[in-house]
């Protein structure tokens, strides 16, 4: 497991959190429709961010621990 993979996941994590919360993409997400499962889109967007971040954090944790194991 290369160190660059951990770093790549880290950069992906940072890019996702910034893109979804601090760029004009947020403004584009500010709409009621489409409403998947009936949920207004903006509510779904804001609810999806924590879930996506959690998945990336778990991925980062796994990759970095695999890297640690391969080093030892």
């Amino acid at each position: 497991m290369s160190r660059s993979l951990t770093q790549r996941v880290l950069w992906l994590l940072m890019a996702v959190v910034i893109a979804m919360t601090a760029t004009p993409i947020v403004i584009l997400a500010n709409r009621i429709t489409p409403s998947p499962l009936g949920v207004p889109f903006f509510l779904l967007w804001c609810g999806a961010i924590p879930l996506l971040l959690w998945i990336l954090m778990v991925l980062h944790s796994r990759v970095s621990s695999l890297e640690g194991e391969s080093k030892s």
Partner: protein, 486 residues
């Protein structure tokens, strides 16, 4: 009367759980500073998660957030994202703080900064800023708990008495049990808060709308203005985005929340809890948003939006559910009051008292000072709460002007070896003054909140001053901690 039963059960259980660690300790076994301040640095993932979460969610969520969504719409849901970002901060910083804390016996941020930058002055400043910021924070929590008593018991337990009961109970178990008592009561209160609010809001949604699908359909047709920005009160994007980041980055810089990082049993547990905080941000806050939207659809034009949730009970949920909702409200408030009061006692003893005395006092003396300040804090907060400051959420947001200033210092201390004590001190002062200027003199251009302006000024000052000053000392401070942290 029904609500009083639910509230009383929570209060009795809280007192029991809070006092249990103190009384289960063997009589001759003296309480150590490490135990009183940090629960002997032995918090496992479950306790750490619940104490971090329950402390974060407060009466500001139960009353303030409901009022915000009811009156201004969904703009408040920046809280989902900001809590998720705070989990990310915890995920990356807490394992490092836990490891460094174990090695160097750090208790507060001030300890860490004073060691890293080799500056007693910086330690004092950080302790002072933290202490000052916590006073309004704890005050609004006491106001919240007094209001909850007053509203839920329909005046049977008036504001002053409800606030007094809550503060007295917290002071009692903190006095005897310290961090262990606080953490275990948080586990209880966190579970009570989340289950009670989901239960009651779920009942309301099914009773009034028949389920989530028809509820969202009703929201889309009857209150569409509440479902997007800018909402009925013209909320600016600058506010939404800056508040997301200020609370996200600054949340775990609060002294009471930072202390949970160093109280973790292991770095691995700390990291795991960081990811759980992110995951739990939606499930724990969504029912508040749904309940407030339901109230906006069903009972528009409420004079006091703080009471939106309770106003739905009776017509849309059985009357007995008021006991469950009341229990949840009290749980949200108590879980924050206890952590804040305990942390204030620790911060004053550790950051101010121990830094100002020349010879290190005995363990029992340090605990006595900390306990005294827990009691003093409770008295001050109670007295201030009797003035009933309004706009709970706004007051809380303004206190971030202080704590957000610790974040750039923390990142620089951990990852930038060129950061100097001069840079850190200047950054803290300039950031704080800038935030206060924007808060009270200049205003908030483009809706960007004052703490965000302070944050930018802090970062710029830290970089510029650090680059033009020499590192404080090679060896113990700068190089070692930066290397240990990475």
């Amino acid at each position: 009367m029904t609500a009083l039963i639910g509230i009383s059960i929570v209060l009795i259980l809280t007192l029991g759980v809070g006092l249990a660690p103190a009384f289960s300790r063997k009589a001759k076994q003296a309480l150590s500073v490490n135990e009183y301040f940090l629960g002997s640095r032995g918090m496992g993932p479950v306790v750490l998660f619940f104490t971090s979460m329950a402390t974060w969610y407060s009466s500001s969520l139960f009353l303030g957030a409901v009022a915000e969504v009811y009156a201004k719409g969904i703009g408040w849901i920046f809280a989902f994202t900001s809590t998720a970002i705070s989990g990310l901060v915890f995920y990356f910083i807490a394992p490092r703080m836990q490891a460094l804390g174990q090695r160097h016996r750090f208790v507060t941020q001030a300890d860490f900064f004073a060691h890293r930058f080799d500056s007693r002055l910086l330690g004092l400043l950080v302790g002072l800023v933290g202490t000052v910021c916590m006073i309004p924070y704890i005050t609004i929590q006491v106001v919240g708990v007094g209001l909850i008593f007053d509203i839920f018991t329909d005046g049977l337990v008036p504001f002053w008495l409800g606030a007094l009961i809550a503060v007295a109970i917290c002071a009692l178990f903190i006095y005897f049990g310290g961090m262990t008592s606080v953490a275990w009561t948080d586990v209880l209160l966190g579970i009570v808060f989340v289950t009670s609010i989901w239960f009651v809001v779920g009942m309301i949604l099914f009773d009034a709308f028949g389920g989530f699908g028809s509820f969202f359909e009703a929201a889309r047709t009857r209150v569409p203005e509440l479902l997007t920005l800018p909402g009925p009160k013209n909320l600016e994007w600058g506010y939404f985005l800056s508040q997301t980041w200020v609370i996200g980055l600054g949340g775990y810089m609060w002294p009471h929340l930072y202390m949970r990082m160093v109280a973790a049993r292991s770095a691995r547990d700390a990291r795991r809890v960081g990811s759980l905080i992110t995951l739990a941000s939606v499930p724990s806050q969504l029912p508040v948003v749904l309940g407030a939207l339901a109230a906006a659809i069903l009972i528009p034009s409420l004079a006091s939006p703080d009471t939106a949730l309770i106003s739905l009970i009776g017509d849309y949920a059985p009357l007995w559910t008021i006991a469950i909702l009341g229990a949840g409200g009290i749980a949200a408030s108590l879980s924050t009051i206890n952590s804040l009061a305990h942390s204030q006692g620790v911060t004053v003893a550790q950051d101010l008292y121990l830094r100002l005395v020349k010879k290190r006092p005995s363990e029992s003396r340090i605990i006595a000072v900390s306990r005294a300040f827990v009691l003093i804090t409770c008295v001050i907060a109670y007295a201030a709460a009797l003035t009933k400051p309004t706009f709970l959420w706004t007051i809380l947001a303004n206190t971030y002007s202080g704590v957000i200033q610790f974040f750039p210092l923390m990142i620089a201390a951990l990852f930038w070896s060129k950061a100097t004590k001069q840079g850190a001190i200047a950054a803290l002062i300039v950031g704080l003054v800038t935030a206060l200027l924007f808060s009270y003199v200049i205003g908030t251009p483009w809706g960007i909140v004052a703490p965000a302006w302070g944050f930018v000024a802090n970062v710029l000052t830290l970089i510029v001053v650090s680059l033009i000053t020499q590192p404080a000392r090679d060896g113990v401070g700068v190089t070692t901690v930066s290397r240990e942290a990475t």
